[in-house]
């Protein structure tokens, strides 16, 4: 047996706490260093930029502190005030419409025996794989001045509010379906049996059982959809026309007029509704008591002819526009020169003709998304691990957790502007990152940090809590346990996070639009630029390419990845 030697090096002059703190084991030091690294990392890539942005909103162009002067000036400008109201209108309309559609769709998927569920699930998820400009471009093909079915609008223009709302409904729909299928999926069959015993009508059952149990899911969904709608830039940029919203204002102020101060003020105004939505949600979640306990029995719908037929019809009606919009984008990308030469061909995919960078943006996107997925997922897992392994009462835990939740409420444009202020500052030793692909990776990982963090924490909580203690008793260092046990066990979640980061990195425009230089242009930015230059076909083609790439990766993951996992995860 290994002899226990007295190695404690007493420092009598260091009293109590300090002495204890310094005496920590190697494992503890490693944990502390990792925690310090994570805090530093999030400080640089998230908190620092946001603070610089906030600071910028309260100084004048000379850099003098002016308090809320900029905000008064902003709100005093009629056109800007109008944008704020416009944005809220968009947010409200989109949230309302998406909630109704997605709830119906999710209800069909979880509570009925609708045929072809798998197909509907895939269709419902498709829009998430496209950049938000794609539906807007497609809507122009459909309803624009030369649109194929513009007669359906009876002389109304699709440019402006209608286009923005339809585009955003399309693009945010999958997020809502995902959240609501989860909320509706966890129903307790016992409650429905009780309702039947009490002879409640189906409608009464819906209002007394179904709706209350989905209430918190609905609130969360509303908050997420509202935030997405008020902060999205791509749809409004393409199809907004004269209808100005905060996101397009901000783009004009920063890129057009180089008025960074006003850009910062707009950022803050965009941040406000997002933070309010987030706070309302957080407040409501705290009051939520889980109605679904381990004793509950999962509700499984039984076939019911009229109901199933009705939902088949409803879901088909909801899914049809998705198919039409995506189909139109693909068709548009294949038409040689809309509307004059309708011959089909791959002309639009010859990007070099329309854009000096040619195919480079697409390759940049692949590279950026790949690196963001690989580094981001590992980083997220390690930081979640650090949070989970903190001793009770440590301040590190709430600090990292708090930072990890921030991105949820921060729009990409706001983050991107913050990056300009923070990294484009000659005093910053990291200023060299400006204009590189690295900064795009950093901003993407920061922008999509929250979901990954939550997934990783949930997974780690499933591991037995005491394995580190056992390992210490067997003299096995913690980092070894991490590689040998924690990482393999978390592999499926890690890959889920990686795919999520990859898809979002491919489709995102918001932060990148402020941070790219010609050499680091991304595919999604190329969509925007070519569209802006009037090349609808090539813009559509690039958008379709992104969609196809994201879909391929998703499918690969679902097919090959899962099979591979099943082999390595034999212990499950």
């Amino acid at each position: 047996m290994s002899a226990i030697s007295q190695t404690a090096w007493s420092l009598p002059w260091l009293r109590g706490g300090h002495e204890q703190w310094l005496r920590a084991s190697r494992d503890q030091w490693l944990l502390r260093l990792t925690a310090a690294f994570i805090i530093l990392y999030l400080g640089i890539t998230l908190v620092g930029p946001l603070l610089s942005m906030l600071l910028q909103s309260v100084v004048d162009t000379q850099g003098n502190y002016v308090g809320l002067e900029n905000f008064y000036q902003y709100l005093g400008t009629r056109s800007l005030r109008q944008s704020f109201l416009n944005t809220m209108a968009v947010g409200g309309l989109v949230t309302g419409i998406v909630l109704i559609l997605a709830f119906t769709f999710a209800y069909g998927l979880t509570r009925t025996c609708l045929p072809a569920k798998g197909l509907f699930k895939v269709l419902g998820m498709l829009p998430i794989l496209a950049p938000s400009m794609l539906p807007a471009i497609s809507l122009i093909y459909l309803f624009g001045n030369q649109g194929v079915i513009r007669e359906l609008l009876f002389d109304n223009s699709v440019y402006g509010l209608p286009g923005i709302v339809i585009g955003l409904v399309f693009w945010t729909f999958p997020h809502a379906v995902l959240m609501l299928t989860t909320a509706l999926g966890n129903a307790d069959a016992r409650l429905y049996e009780a309702a039947r015993v009490l002879k409640l009508s189906p409608l009464q059952t819906f209002f007394t059982v179904t709706l209350p149990s989905a209430k918190y899911g609905l609130i969360s969904t509303a908050s997420v959809i509202f935030t997405l709608a008020v902060t999205d830039f791509g749809v409004a940029k393409v199809i907004g026309g004269q209808y100005s919203v905060l996101a397009t204002d901000m783009f004009k102020q920063v890129v057009g007029q180089q008025n960074f101060t006003m850009g910062a003020v707009t950022s803050v105004l965009m941040l406000l509704p997002a933070i309010i939505a987030f706070a309302v949600d957080a407040f409501m979640q705290r009051r939520q008591v889980s109605l679904f306990s381990s004793r509950s029995v999962i509700y499984k719908p039984k076939p019911h002819q009229t109901r199933d037929a009705l939902f088949l019809l409803l879901c088909a009606v909801i899914a049809l526009p998705i198919v039409v919009i995506i189909g139109m984008a693909i068709y548009g990308s294949l038409v040689t020169f809309w509307p004059w030469n309708m011959a089909l061909g791959l002309n639009s995919y010859n990007f070099a003709t329309f854009n000096p960078q040619g195919w480079a943006p697409y390759l940049n996107s692949l590279k950026m998304a790949g690196v963001a997925a690989a580094l981001g997922s590992l980083l997220v897992l390690i930081s979640a691990y650090v949070v989970e392994k903190q001793p009770q009462g440590s301040w590190v835990k709430p600090v990292i957790q708090g930072m990890a939740m921030i991105p949820m409420a921060v729009p990409g444009l706001v983050l991107g502007l913050g990056y300009i202020f923070f990294f484009n500052n000659p005093d910053n030793p990291l200023a060299g990152l400006y204009g590189t692909l690295t900064i795009l990776v950093l901003s993407t990982v920061a922008h999509y940090y929250t979901v990954g963090h939550l997934t990783a924490v949930t997974t780690l909580k499933k591991l037995p809590p005491d394995i580190e203690a056992v390992a210490a008793s067997l003299k096995i260092p913690h980092h070894k346990v991490f590689w040998r046990v924690t990482l393999p066990v978390s592999l499926p979640a890690l890959l889920d996070i990686a795919i999520y980061l990859f898809v979002n990195a491919l489709t995102t425009t918001s932060a990148a639009v402020f941070l790219y230089v010609p050499d680091t242009m991304l595919a999604s930015i190329a969509v925007l630029n070519m569209e802006d230059a009037g090349f609808h076909g090539p813009a559509s083609a690039m958008g379709v390419l992104i969609l196809l790439t994201a879909a391929t990766v998703k499918l690969l993951w679902m097919g090959v990845g899962q099979k591979l996992l099943r082999r390595t995860q034999g212990w499950r």
Binding site: M1, S2, I4, S5, Q6, T7, A8, G16, G17, Q20, R23, A24, S25, R26, D27, Q28, Q392, G393, L463, P464, P465, D466, I467, A469, V470, A472, S473, L474, K475, I476, P477, K480, V481, R484, V485, P488, V489, Q569, G570, W571, R572
Partner: protein, 338 residues
Amino acid sequence: MKPFLCLENLNKQFGQFTALNDISLTIEKGEFICFLGPSGCGKTTLLRMIAGLESCEQGHIWQNGANITHLPPEKRDFGIVFQSYALFPNLTVFENIAIGLRQQRASKVAIEQQVNHWLETIGLPEIGDKFPGQLSGGQQQRVALARALILSPGLLLLDEPLSALDAKVRIHLRETIRTLQKQLGITTIMVTHDQEEAMAMADRIVVMNHGVVEQIGTPEAIYQQPASRFVAGFIGAMNFLDLAGGKKGQPHIIGVRPEDIHLTASAPGSLQIPVRIERTEFQGPLLRVECQLIDCSSTLRADIPIHQITTANLTPGTETCIWIEHRRMQHFRQEEVV
């Protein structure tokens, strides 16, 4: 010869909350010690301090003659088993047990031989290739035990190892643990809140409450001479009688176990008390009788072996007498009554 493990004046604060208050305790080599007490009394905290999993700001811990107070857990010498089994879920049973040896860079042959030996010892020779998720709770806990013992540590720590198991498995496994412990002669500390378990297994029991040690002693001593009213009430059942003016005129409390109350004068010099029968309850081997003292409001519970109830009339409402032998009475000071 110094004791194997020595705890001196240990304190533990969590913020304002005192989890452990001035704990001192010595444990001899080869002893089986149980920490027993109600939930939240600090048993786990004390065990974790011995393992080095909780820091120790006040007091000292000595093991095998060395001061280990501030050593990190990996520098100490113990094996540990948790209620949650804490097996590595993605490693086979064989690997779970072998991992400690691999870390020590033992040879392949030695590992193979040792692990198989331990699989035999815990009575599960066939399960090396299985994963923990494929085993029952009792089997998992056996594997955890083998894993904790394979490096032959000087001290085995068990934190409620049996609490997650069902009654039959629990009794079987507690025999396994006890036999193994005796065979190896390994000093063992087990945390439990099950008094029956503690009494059946321990050489000595440390009864804890609210972060302090109430009593340390053999199971018999703790049952027969509880040091405080808390211990008396926590271990087994006890009636408390407030008899004014005891010895030296001090008010004090008498404690008597239900099985020490008789319906006849069984021994000379018994205390006779008139009571009224309130309720009876048939319990199989004995009859539980609840009765009220005639001259005051206290109630008593008596357990009377069935074969002794032949003539006595025990219908509720009957007035009769009970007898208690003097030597069976415990005396507690008034201030101990909460």
